[in-house]
Symmetry: C2
Subunit: 326 residues, 2 copies
């Protein structure tokens, strides 16, 4: 009933994952659970996302990139709450034929990014499966009590902002699936798909300033819709103000319909947030402190639903690019 | 790149999992992450275990029982740390052909046990897989600062205790796989395998009394070995003192080799712990308060390794029963 032969699991954890153990409570991954200090006056923030072979990553994705993306998308959820990471727990279901080198590369990628984002492994489980690989990660963070950013804080009259540029990850997926192979900036776009950047510093800087916040994982229109639903408001996006990278701008100049990449493409993991119009200076200061550009792209209105309009005020139709799903 | 069609995932969560959302910070499962209060003077305890179709449960297991066991084994890890649960996060990778009724039964089983153990769902992720089902659960708990029970606190001279009876879950697996079908008490044994009881009250009552603690998931000898390894001690188990249920005692009376079920069978999720010999009265008071019997089964010695001895002091040989793995 115990999963893989025990000695294998213990040896695998000892070799590949114990070196990633957090100093903060992981007990060297040798105990039943991690014990973690939460600073006084803070709340715990917890999130969990899973990735499945063939659904969330292409079969030829490098093992280290799978681990890095899994970590980054979870840290992005912490960023969207304004939280600072304290550690992660990881569950891996490896197909029985998985080679030890594959697991070593997976762990190395995870370790590199745990260091990059200044956090560590607190625990987890490794099991074997007769099916496809499934990974899930739980990210834990902290936020000063009562200061978490949520999806529910948007009010009519607020302005809508987004960090960085949108559509690059969707275009990057097109590069990886060859639909957009050979375009200008292909490598940079593919990198945006592979290694999204959780906007942790920005999320924390926006505490007390942003009303509502979310990370753009499902696509701008869909994620703006989540804010609108939970806040009980309508949101209008000005399509021509949505920030795009140079390579994506070139694509759109050739084919206007590709604006859909920026409006509906997923996986950019930029922060979409609202703030009262009177807080524009505070927003500017926060984004400067976080070192990431932010664009004002819309307004919050009374009502419900999401609309994108062009510079003439006409609704923008969004065609779904065919390579979004694989 | 977003996993299952979004509307499906959102509707599935809304129908089956949102009703299980914890009042304590789950935000109705509508946000990026949960926000949880940790009482002042307490530490967070976090653990994560996974279950895979065909590895951790038999293919014909009822969906509700899979969810209940997943929850219970994770709560058992909290129990072994002396922690009180605050909530759980769940990741489900459902095979594409999974029927909605199957998911409803899974959620109903989870909901029943979340109520039973007075905790709730804080968040998670549901995805689809082209392979076999994989579930992982993260259990979060709290413990007064510095009072967590660990595997590292056993000292030479301590006594070794275990709660309840051992070997029932392994015998119950034998019942379920038909190897032991039709024996006396078959239903009760199968129930021990299906629905292990996390010893939460006992774990909490043992804070400040037990030196080291672990839940018996890999089997008594293996788990005693984990305590010995981490504590840097040897442990001697008196095999004749290991508590067994009436049906298991009857089996062992017929075939002495079946003592291996109690010594090496996994999945009982009883608490194995050590305490100084001078704290026997405190142990008795804690176990009375927790409403679960505890047996003294061995001693902690200087050195390393685990030995089981019979009433004459001779080492006991442990034969692995063939139905332990499937």
């Amino acid at each position: 009933m115990t999963a893989p032969p025990e000695t294998d699991e213990f040896s695998l954890i000892a070799r590949h994952f114990a070196p990633l153990a957090s100093d903060a409570g992981a007990l060297g991954l040798t105990d039943d659970a991690a014990v973690i200090d939460i600073p006084e006056g803070h709340q715990l923030v917890a999130t969990k996302d899973a990735m499945v072979e063939g659904v969330h990553y292409l079969p030829d994705t490098a093992p280290g990139d799978i681990a890095r993306k899994l970590l980054r998308v979870n840290l992005s959820d912490l960023a969207a709450m304004g939280a600072a990471p304290v550690g992660v727990l990881l569950a891996c279901a490896f197909p029985k034929a998985t080679r030890d080198e594959w697991i070593a590369e997976f762990a190395a990628g995870l370790g590199a990014d745990l260091s990059e984002f200044n956090t560590g492994l607190l625990g987890g489980d490794t099991v074997s499966t007769g099916g496809l690989a499934v990974f899930s990660l739980t990210a834990l963070g902290t936020v000063p009590k009562g200061e978490a950013l949520t999806r529910g804080g948007a009010h009519p009259g607020d302005l809508v902002y987004v960090s960085g540029t949108l559509g690059d990850a969707a275009a990057g997926l097109g590069v990886l699936t060859k639909d957009l192979a050979g375009i200008e900036g292909a490598d940079a776009l593919a990198a945006r798909h592979r290694h999204p950047i959780p906007r942790l510093a920005l999320g924390q800087a926006l505490r007390g300033i942003a009303g509502a916040a979310i990370d753009v994982s499902d696509g701008l229109m869909a994620d703006a819709g989540h804010i609108a639903d939970v806040s009980g408001v309508a949101i209008e996006i000005m399509a021509h103000k949505v920030p795009v990278s140079e390579p994506l701008a070139a694509l759109i100049a050739d084919d206007q319909a590709l604006i859909a990449l920026a409006l509906a493409g997923g996986d950019d993991y930029e922060l979409l947030f609202t703030a009262p119009a009177g807080r524009a200076e505070a927003v500017a200061a926060a984004t400067k402190a976080a070192g990431i550009a932010v664009s004002e792209i819309g307004t919050v209105l009374a009502g419900k639903g999401i609309t994108a309009r062009d510079r003439d005020g006409a609704p923008v139709e969004i065609a779904s690019p065919g390579w979004r799903h694989f």
